[in-house]
């Protein structure tokens, strides 16, 4: 065996720069030092800049009076409220458009995604055209389109478009009748909750009985009757304690009822339609990801078609669909920050916009805004990890 001339004698340790563990340690120490130096540099600069501009840091400004009005407030707010209140208002508006957007985008997305797989050639083509059109146009452009080209060119209040005598659409927004609840109405949501709890208990009992005896009840229909019928029964029994307040034209504008501002409508429409095109693709690929053998095997066991879908295809497709779906939901909530371009009072528009400009507290405001989105992302990714662990295939 030949010995290399520069080989180390046995037992002698290699020099530290050849030792992987030590090298890693040194590299990491250097990295921490570099990041720390960078942070110190930035903080120093920031402090110097803030001093030069005469801006004091801290979150004290949140208690100061805001002094500006907001177009859509879900909770009580006036221009006398504090800046802290504007943060809450913005956050609630973001969550409102995000939540309703997720709902609408899911409904449209699932319908279009399933239509995309339709055996009907025309329907499949139409669904494809929808997907390819809307996902290839920037969202901001779509928001502008709905806001400036559609909703802002609607007729004025006097010539509003009327749907029946109850719903009116004009340049100032959409006017809907508002339900006014009288005393005794509280019973109905309570019954609703009771019915849901009863249905869940029924489903669990039915499952246990099915596994033990093989007998089953049509739980779906029973639950449906329970959840819808019981509150309805109570509603009729208590004499329908609801009156509807209709919007009415008074002078140049409508009064009464619920007003949905056009900014909300434009943002909601654009977000739902845009995100639905991505969801449709996810649904399509999720269903297509299930090998055809699964259907055939289920049919070979003589399962009826309805059960093949419910017990074999959908549970497996959901495993593929849900992870990208949640990331689309997250995108939708993040994209709702484009509200600021058309003036819908969401978190970015109200807080990182008006409040930031009035107070000049850039660092605190941007940090709070980013923290909100980061917390939402974190919660969603925690849910994702939990879900993935739950549905992961257990392989041998």
């Amino acid at each position: 065996m030949s010995v290399r001339p520069n080989a180390r004698p046995v037992g002698q340790k290699p020099p530290f720069w050849r030792d992987r563990a030590k090298r890693a340690l040194i590299f990491q120490i250097l990295l921490v030092a570099a990041v720390a130096a960078f942070m110190i540099y930035i903080i120093g600069n920031t402090q110097a800049n803030l001093n030069a501009r005469g801006i004091t840091t801290g979150f004290g400004f949140l208690n100061n009076t805001a002094g500006f009005g907001i177009g859509q407030t879900l909770i009580e707010y006036s221009s006398q409220s504090s800046y802290g209140r504007t943060f809450i208002i913005g956050l609630l508006n973001t969550l409102l458009v995000g939540g309703l957007g997720v709902l609408a985008a899911s409904i449209i997305g699932f319908i279009v995604g399933i239509a995309r797989l339709s055996p009907n050639w025309l329907i499949a083509r139409l669904a494809n055209a929808y997907i390819e059109t809307f996902r290839n146009i920037p969202l901001l452009l779509q928001i502008f389109f709905w806001y400036f080209a559609v909703l802002r060119s609607l007729p004025s209040a006097r010539e509003s478009m009327a749907f029946g005598e109850a719903i009116f659409l004009n340049v100032r927004g959409l006017y809907l009748p508002e339900p006014l609840f009288e005393s005794g109405f509280g019973l109905i949501p309570a019954t609703f909750v009771v019915a849901i709890v009863a249905s869940i208990a029924l489903v669990m009992w039915n499952k246990r009985r099915h596994e033990a005896t093989g007998k089953r009840l049509p739980v779906f229909w029973i639950s449906l009757v329970l959840i819808l019928g019981l509150p309805l029964l109570i509603l009729v029994a208590t004499g329908v304690p609801v009156t509807w307040e209709m919007p009415e034209l008074r002078g140049f504008n409508f009064a009464g009822g619920i007003t949905i501002i056009p900014e909300f409508l434009a943002l909601w429409l654009a977000l739902s339609i845009y995100t639905a095109s991505f969801i449709a693709e996810i649904v399509r690929s999720g269903i297509q990801a299930i090998p055809h053998g699964q259907t055939e095997a289920a049919q070979a066991l003589s399962l009826p078609r309805k059960l093949v879908l419910r017990l074999v295809i959908i549970p497996q497709a959901m495993r593929v669909i849900i992870p990208p779906l949640t990331s689309q939901y997250l995108n939708l909530i993040k994209n709702s920050s484009l509200a600021t371009a058309i003036g819908y009072p969401d978190l970015v528009s109200v807080f990182a916009g008006t409040t930031l400009n009035q107070t000049g507290q850039a660092i605190e405001v941007i940090a709070m805004t980013m923290a909100v989105y980061l917390i939402i992302s974190l919660l969603v990714s925690m849910f994702m990890n939990w879900f993935n662990a739950r549905v992961a295939l257990v392989e041998r």
């Binding site: 990041v35 009907n120 025309l122 502008f144 389109f145 060119s153 989105y373």
Partner: protein, 366 residues
């Protein structure tokens, strides 16, 4: 044994299984529900397509130079025509358009060279595109060298700015993304933690807050005497944002390479960088290309957000043109034009990415 010695001549397919009528019956009218859907689909199509064609082509006005040339029955493409050069070049001085045109032409030929599979020397074109082209483009567009008059960045705009933001964001994000992806897969805990925090931070917040941060907070972070151009600030924000998404795409590609490849290379005595550069990356990169194209499409659409911090990209300049008092009320035409341009770019890129996915599918998938 019965044996037919005569050859039976070819028979035509049974009637009712071929031809347009059979196709219609098979694909559109097989069953009452499907027929209903078909009719419904046809009706929707009729409601959408006929008025659109009527508006965009039949009733439209194409020539002229002021709003008086438009009948207002259909689309007024006169508006788009009159503003066309602004939509492409922004407020760039018109006598310097040739400079932007050269950059456009170089950009287009680089893309064409890379996209057409038959052309040789791809590696060198990539090196040229990543290293030399940005310098040439900067010198040409910005000027100030070789007797070219300076054109300050606030006059850049339109489609030119959109393409510039997207390409610079992309080229800048690639190396950062690679480093972050490698860091996230590293054995060193501190390096990994830093990379995870960095990636998840930029992915967790909306681009608009990043752009706000870049335009409001970046000047605070830097020494007072240093002022950064607004375009550069937007580019820094876009690049950091994009690099986080890029890192995830690259990590996905790296994960798809079986561990045995790395171990085999290590067994041959290769160092980390040799293993990455010669064994892992060349295989992984191939699988990443569709993902990279997809993030590029998102970035391309997201560049429209820079108008919120006061830059005039294609959408920004269209929006600005709409508030011109001489051309009020043509928002639909403006948006349709901008949507059409964006759509052409994004659609062709997504088609290209699908094509690549098919072409590069050399059996790494399980």
């Amino acid at each position: 044994m019965i044996h037919n010695k005569e050859v039976i001549p070819e028979q035509p397919a049974p009637k009712g299984t071929i031809g347009p009528i059979a196709w219609l019956r098979g694909n559109l009218f097989n069953g009452p529900i499907n027929s209903l859907f078909t009719l419904l689909g046809l009706y929707v199509l009729y409601l959408l397509v006929v008025p659109t064609i009527q508006w965009a082509f039949i009733d439209a006005d194409w020539v002229g130079d002021s709003r008086e040339d438009c009948s207002r029955v259909g689309a007024c493409w006169v508006f788009v025509n009159a503003r066309f050069s602004q939509f492409i070049y922004g407020l760039y001085p018109s006598e310097e358009y040739w400079r932007a045109n050269i950059v456009f032409a170089m950009f287009a030929s680089i893309i064409a060279w890379l996209v057409i599979p038959r052309l040789p020397l791809k590696r060198w074109v990539i090196v040229f595109a990543l290293l030399a082209f940005p310098v040439i483009a900067y010198v040409l567009l910005h000027g100030g060298y070789f007797d070219l008059p300076r054109v300050s960045t606030h006059r850049w705009g339109g489609l030119m700015l959109t393409l510039l933001l997207a390409s610079v964001g992309m080229i800048g994000a690639l190396p950062i993304g690679i480093v972050l992806a490698l860091g996230r897969r590293s054995q060193m805990p501190i390096v990994r933690t830093f990379c995870v925090i960095f990636i998840e931070f930029w992915r967790g917040v909306p681009l608009i807050t990043i752009l706000f941060m870049a335009s409001v907070m970046l000047p605070l972070f830097l020494p007072t005497e240093l002022s950064v151009d607004r375009l550069i600030r937007a580019l820094i924000g876009l690049t950091l944002f994009q690099s986080a998404y890029m890192a995830e795409v690259i990590r996905g590609g790296l994960q798809a390479i079986p561990k045995g490849q790395d171990e085999a290379a290590a067994a041959l005595g290769m160092t980390y960088w040799k293993r990455m550069g010669l064994i892992i990356m060349p295989q992984a990169l191939k699988m990443m290309i569709p993902g990279i194209v997809n993030t590029f499409i998102s970035l391309f659409k997201d560049t429209t957000l820079v108008m919120i911090i006061g830059l005039f990209d294609l959408l920004g300049i269209v929006q600005a043109a709409l508030s011109d008092s001489r051309w009020l009320g043509f928002s639909l035409e403006g948006y349709v034009f901008a949507a059409f341009v964006f759509w052409i770019f994004c659609f062709s890129m997504s088609r290209y990415s699908q094509y690549l996915e098919r072409r590069l599918n050399t059996g790494h998938k399980q």
